[in-house]
């Protein structure tokens, strides 16, 4: 159970020449067992009050509800495709919750949970999947960057942003999400290299959900764990049970605060499981068994947190009702925002290509205008 994570403590001033302090523990940090029982860990004291504990739970439940709604919307032809975060709610909610308000998140395409922590408009977020625009939220309003589809590329943006914050003397940490598969790409490697040599305040948060579409973890690396990669960049490689919202919070929180103190980047591997298909276009029966999926369901992050809250007398029927209502409300809001939403104005295609347009689109824009007009006449 949870060997202590050394190397992340500010008191640990050992030089990186002492590698042992930087290696990941044998077991990921876990504070909550699958059944919800809690383990004290002196290295990871909880700095959360009752309201916050409830809030973490609420965010997970709402995430799951909206996620389910998105899958429904896709089935009903309202979204082109959707990448579910079912089973990864704790990993996302806890890690995002561990950040300060000024900190920035650089997500991939699966981070609905993190977005909801940031109160990004969930209907807006889904416009990417509906195809009504390529994104539809203002990153600066939420310190939440646009979703990024090319695997691992956003790790560099997070690193550059953190380098900027450091240069500017701002107390901002960035956190970037990518997947187990993403660790194989060149970009996260370069990002960790840049982060290391610049002591950039960035946390690389990998949700190891065991699959990259159909490809299992053992085709991505021969390393003992993904966290072992960190030492090659001179940063601590941390691991947590990503289905344990408290353990994930505690590990992320320490990494974030360490980075904020100027002690450099960290890498976190959160062990979790992608309970849904890769996206709604995917057919996971081709590459994994029902049994495996069912086994994984036993580690459900929401159930265990509910047990924990119940045991602490922080959960009752009223809270349940309240949260369910909130979740339903947001789901309905998302549904209303997406269902039959306008496809937008095709002329907008020419509007954002350049901030300072040079007029050289005029003929092409005129062409489209004419096509639209004549189609309008024809119909």
């Amino acid at each position: 159970m949870g060997r202590t994570v050394t190397g992340v403590d500010s008191s640990d001033e050992g030089p990186p020449g002492d590698p042992h302090g930087w290696l990941p523990p044998d077991e990921p940090v876990s504070l909550l067992d699958p059944d919800g029982s809690y383990h004290e860990d002196p290295e990871h004291p909880l700095d959360l009050d009752d309201e916050q504990l409830r809030e973490l739970y609420r965010l997970m439940v709402v995430t799951r509800k909206v996620d389910r709604e998105a899958i429904n919307l896709q089935r009903q032809g309202q979204l082109g495709v959707y990448a579910s975060c079912l089973g990864q709610e704790a990993a996302q909610v806890a890690s995002a919750y561990a950040l300060g308000a000024d900190d920035w998140i650089f997500p991939s395409y699966r981070e609905l949970g993190a977005a909801l922590v940031r109160q990004v408009d969930a209907a807006g977020l889904l416009h990417l999947y509906r195809g009504t625009w390529l994104s539809d939220h203002d990153p600066y309003a939420h310190n939440f960057a646009l979703m990024s589809i090319p695997i691992g590329t956003q790790a560099l943006h997070a690193t550059g942003f953190a380098m900027g914050a450091k240069l500017d003397g701002a107390s901002i940490v960035t956190l970037t999400y990518y997947g187990d598969g993403g660790t194989s790409e060149g970009d996260p490697h370069e990002a960790m290299t840049f982060a290391g040599v610049n002591d950039a305040p960035v946390v690389f948060f990998v949700q190891n959900n065991q699959y990259a579409i159909s490809v299992p973890l053992d085709r991505q690396t021969a390393a003992p764990t993904l966290a072992h990669k960190a030492i090659g960049y001179g940063m601590p490689g941390l691991r947590c049970d990503g289905n344990d919202v408290l353990g994930t919070y505690a590990v992320t929180r320490r990494a974030v605060e360490r980075a904020r103190r100027g002690e450099g980047p960290a890498f976190i591997e959160a062990m979790t499981y992608r309970m849904e298909a890769h996206t709604t276009s995917d057919d996971p029966t081709r590459y994994r068994t029902k049994e495996e999926r069912e086994e994984a369901a036993k580690t459900d992050p929401i159930a265990r947190m509910k047990n924990f809250l119940t045991a602490r007398d922080l959960y009752d029927d009223e809270l349940e009702r309240e949260i369910d209502e909130q979740a339903q409300e947001l789901a309905t809001y998302v549904r209303d925002g997406i269902y039959d939403a306008d496809h937008g104005d095709p002329m907008e295609l020419f509007e954002h290509v350049y901030v300072e347009p040079e007029g050289h689109f005029e003929d092409q824009a005129a062409q489209l205008r004419a096509e639209l007009d004549s189609a309008g006449e024809g119909s």
Binding site: H127, P150, S281, H343
Partner: protein, 323 residues
């Protein structure tokens, strides 16, 4: 027998792997899953994990190891999952795959086929609908092939795999489910030749890949109005079959190039430049281009406005005829 383009390519892969054990197939999700478009379906079962395997998620690694495997003596086929995800492999393709044979004065052969599903019209999210052919065609040392029919899907894929030169094989993903009535195996015209898909007298439509069908539909529509369009399927973008292009324009006097890629430096630019160079006195109107716009590929709900279609082609025809 009704065969889809995806099935035809799949069969070509199977037959090539049966005929020559040096042929390998790898990429992301090509094994157990059979590829996100099922184009590699059944290959791992038939040929084992040694010859059809899933790679780590790293496109430069896929192409770079393909080069090493080819140097060893294999004939690798590497799949890039989507057009927009070939870019991490750009350096390996441009600096090594295309140039190493030349660099080596011919001592190193790289019979590598890079399969890339490309183009739009399938309602996908960003990066899944791009038409990057210009990048490869401007890169000297590559052959760039793209089939527009299931027959060509089979035959040109076999040609690509047998070629001792590196081939970028662009598969028009929105036509994967297009059917032909054909018995496989089939051998069509040589892969580097353009083919006249429909003869005509009033103007030539030059097209390839996903736009072959669209161009034929435009020719149908034009015929209803009494205009007879010749439809030329370029098939090979590098090398480009200039003689066939010029011959068609010499017959019709007018030319329209159709492609999904953005107009500026799309294939239409090169085809137009060659036509006016080689058939200057035959042209009764400028070569026109029915293409995607000079903007990034649009979101799914707007792609119908962005992509060239029958109407855009007929607009070009009208303009051409007005000269």
């Amino acid at each position: 027998m009704a065969v889809t383009l995806a099935q035809a390519i799949n069969q070509a892969l199977k037959d090539a792997m049966s005929d020559d054990e040096r042929v390998l197939m790898f990429g992301e999700d090509v094994g157990r899953l059979g590829g996100v478009f099922r184009v590699t379906d059944g290959l791992q079962e038939m040929f084992g994990e040694g010859r059809c395997y899933d790679t780590p998620l790293a496109e430069s690694g896929i192409v770079g190891t393909a080069i090493g495997l080819a140097m060893y003596g294999y004939r690798p086929i590497a799949e890039m999952q989507f057009d927009g995800f070939t870019y991490p492999a750009f350096e390996q393709i441009v600096s090594h795959l295309a140039k190493m044979p030349n660099r080596s004065r011919g001592t190193v052969k790289l019979p590598v086929t890079i399969r890339i599903p490309y183009g739009g019209g399938i309602g996908a999210v960003e990066h899944h609908s791009e038409s990057p052919e210009s990048y490869w065609v401007h890169t000297q040392g590559l052959k760039v092939l793209t089939p527009g029919t299931p027959e060509d899907g089979y035959s040109m894929m076999r040609a690509a795999i047998s070629s001792d030169d590196p081939v970028v094989f662009l598969e028009p993903k929105r036509r994967y489910w297009m059917k032909s009535d054909v018995e496989l195996p089939v051998e069509t015209e040589p892969a580097t030749q353009a083919v006249v898909r429909r003869e005509g007298t009033d103007a030539s439509l030059f097209c390839y890949g996903p736009m072959v069908r669209t161009a034929l539909e435009a020719a149908d529509a034009a015929a209803d109005e009494g205009w007879y369009l010749e439809v030329v399927d370029l098939r090979s973008l590098a090398p480009l079959d200039t003689p066939a292009i010029l011959a068609s324009v010499q017959r019709t006097g007018r030319a329209i190039v159709v492609h999904e890629a953005s107009r500026t430096l799309g294939m239409g630019a090169e085809v137009a430049a060659r036509i006016q160079e080689g058939a200057f006195y035959h042209l009764e109107a400028p070569v026109l281009r029915a293409t995607g716009f000079d903007t990034p590929y649009p979101p799914a709900k707007l792609e119908e406005y962005w992509l060239p279609d029958v109407d855009r082609i007929l607009d070009c025809l009208e303009r051409s005829l007005s000269y």
